[in-house]
């Protein structure tokens, strides 16, 4: 018995004292980057039927980072976002409006609109969502938008192909997004996929709405940052560039051109915990 107790104490001491074991552990859908678990994949947003009843387990799995695209589909969940091809995603429901003020599905406990963000590979990222919708989708999955600083940290080492997109490089110079994680070389030192190109990613930070004063910034990436003295409304930051930005996409691409309520076919996001 005594041996068992000392071994237990040893085990706890080992776990508490060993730097690798003491470090924060991240769920499988994310990678540890400093103090934050950053989702490995650009977000796909799903409308899950009966989220606090029949599909309660699936919603739990989403929070724990264990849900797969196959499991979501099998449960009757549909991906929402841009409706036109190549996305062909389902329409964003009226109960989940652009301003983020969602209406709970009647009878859900806790109240939920049934909308959740997932970090799964092999699907097109969800686009055509406002910053407000992106922020709520992360929170509904027990996550949050990554901050600008976290995004920058997580993108480190992602090879930037400039305008020379290949089948395995980051998607920076094509006409359409590619499935999450499908570009094998487009991965950061931390294991985060698609930070460069594919879709721009909303981050948490707001700054002055830039209204289109852009320049070639650091290492040739696009920079549209800082107020120009006009409309005093916020601009939400986007990072990384999109599939058609060519040299403008990259780990330093940054834009506050858009009011957080606007959308585009190449505006997606990524969550963190």
């Amino acid at each position: 018995m005594r041996t068992g107790w000392s071994a237990l104490c040893f085990g706890i001491a080992l776990a508490a004292g060993h730097p690798a074991l003491a470090a924060k552990k991240c769920p499988a859908d994310s990678a540890l980057v400093g103090t934050t678990c950053i989702d490995k994949f650009e977000a796909s947003v799903w409308l899950v039927p009966d989220p606090t009843g029949k599909n309660r387990g699936l919603v739990k799995k989403l929070g724990a980072g264990k849900a797969t695209a196959a499991a979501l589909t099998a449960a009757g969940a549909v991906q929402i976002g841009c409706e036109p091809p190549p996305y062909s995603h389902a329409a964003i429901p009226a109960e989940y409006p652009a301003n983020g003020n969602w209406t709970p599905i009647a009878g859900t406990k806790p109240p939920t609109p049934g909308v959740y963000a997932a970090s799964v590979d092999g699907v097109l990222p969800s686009s055509c969502l406002t910053w407000f919708q992106a922020a709520q989708a992360c929170a509904l999955s027990g996550k949050r938008l990554a901050s600008n600083e976290e995004w920058q940290r997580a993108a480190a080492g992602t090879p930037d192909p400039g305008a020379t997109t290949t089948a395995t490089s980051c998607n920076t110079n094509t006409l359409a997004p590619s499935p999450t994680g499908s570009r094998a070389e487009c991965v950061s030192n931390y294991g985060v996929f698609d930070a460069v190109g594919n879709v721009w990613e909303w981050v948490a930070d707001w700054t002055d709405d830039n209204e289109g004063v852009c320049a070639v910034g650091f290492l040739g990436d696009l920079s549209c940052f800082g107020g120009d003295g006009s409309t005093p409304i916020p601009g939400a930051l986007r990072r990384g560039g999109g599939f058609a930005d060519a040299e403008g996409a990259g780990p330093f691409a940054v834009s506050s051109v858009h009011d957080p309520v606007l959308t585009a076919i190449d505006f997606g996001f990524r969550c963190a915990r």
């Binding site: 237990l8 706890i12 074991l21 407000f132 709520q136 929170a139 027990g142 996550k143 949050r144 709405d209």
Partner: protein
């Protein structure tokens, strides 16, 4: 050897389950994404005998279980503006507007002796600078919300605008602040109260200083615009090389003054001495995991 590895595994599992249990929020807050957001706007309290007779009360505040009855029984005094209707005790010299507080002698860990609580039925503490609000949250193991957290937590709070009914709607068109949680319909989809109207709430972010906010007279020129749903946006764009703190949600007199409070209302405020500071309060949060 087998027993050892089993025991190590049990030890590790015990640690892992302890960390997953941390995802529950204390009762003075609700879970929103990765944060526990205080349900109520903050009230700030000076507690006598905090390290002796009232040690238990302080512990309760830290755990989010203190009630107004507990604070009253401990002879705690609410800190804020002396102006009516608040009629509170102004912050002591040891807790100045610049946030450079002096610890209470003998406090361990060092404490300013002031404690922010999230409780219903009291007027929120107001006329505190951004620095004081930031420190007040930290002194109870919390922090100001980020702008992102504030925006997410406020979702779907019904915005009364001119139709403030002085009873259950958010306080958006009345002369004075109202007790926390008293407007029963003023609650967000996440269960957070009073995010629209009542007092403006400091959040953690700074932005470049905007134009000085004007006195509360409608019709004068200044650089603020109606933003989403007409809510007021005064956000950056000025030549001053100085920071502003962000405040969110608007306050009780906003509609009366020709401004509009709401879940999109956003203002840059002077960090220490804004003209509107009498109606700036705050709210705290904790990390959820």
């Amino acid at each position: 050897m087998r027993a050892l590895s089993r025991a190590v595994a049990v030890g590790i599992a015990a640690l892992a389950s302890a960390s997953s249990a941390a995802t529950k929020c204390p009762p003075d807050s609700v879970p929103v994404g990765t944060a526990c957001i205080d349900v109520y706007e903050a009230s700030l309290w000076s507690i006598p005998l905090a390290t002796t007779a009232n040690r238990g009360l302080v512990k309760k505040i830290l755990k989010g279980t203190a009630t107004l009855e507990d604070l009253t029984a401990g002879e705690a005094v609410q800190i804020g503006t002396a102006s009516p209707p608040f009629a509170m005790t102004p912050p002591p010299d040891s807790f100045p507007a610049n946030g450079q507080w002096t610890p209470v002698a003998g406090s361990d860990p060092p404490s300013p002796g002031l404690y922010a609580a999230s409780i219903p039925g009291v007027l929120p503490s107001a006329q505190l600078s951004w620095f004081q609000a930031d420190q007040a949250c930290a002194a109870v193991g919390k922090r100001l919300l980020t702008n992102l957290e504030w925006q997410v937590a406020a979702a779907s709070t019904p915005d009364a605008n001119a139709a403030d009914d002085f009873a259950s709607t958010c306080a958006t068109n009345t002369a004075d602040a109202v007790p926390t949680g008293s407007r029963t319909a003023c609650v967000s989809a996440w269960g957070v109260r009073d995010m629209v109207g009542n007092v403006n709430e400091w959040v953690g972010q700074w932005i470049p200083r905007g134009p000085d906010l004007p006195p509360p007279t409608p019709g004068f020129p200044f650089v603020c615009v109606p933003y989403l749903e007409g809510d007021l946006s005064c956000f950056g764009d000025d030549s001053a090389v100085a920071p502003s703190g962000l405040s969110r949600g608007g306050e009780t007199r906003d509609f009366f003054d020709g401004f509009l409070s709401g879940v999109f209302a956003i203002r840059n405020e002077r960090i220490v001495d804004d003209l509107f500071q009498s109606v700036i309060g705050f709210r705290c949060a904790r990390d959820r995991s």
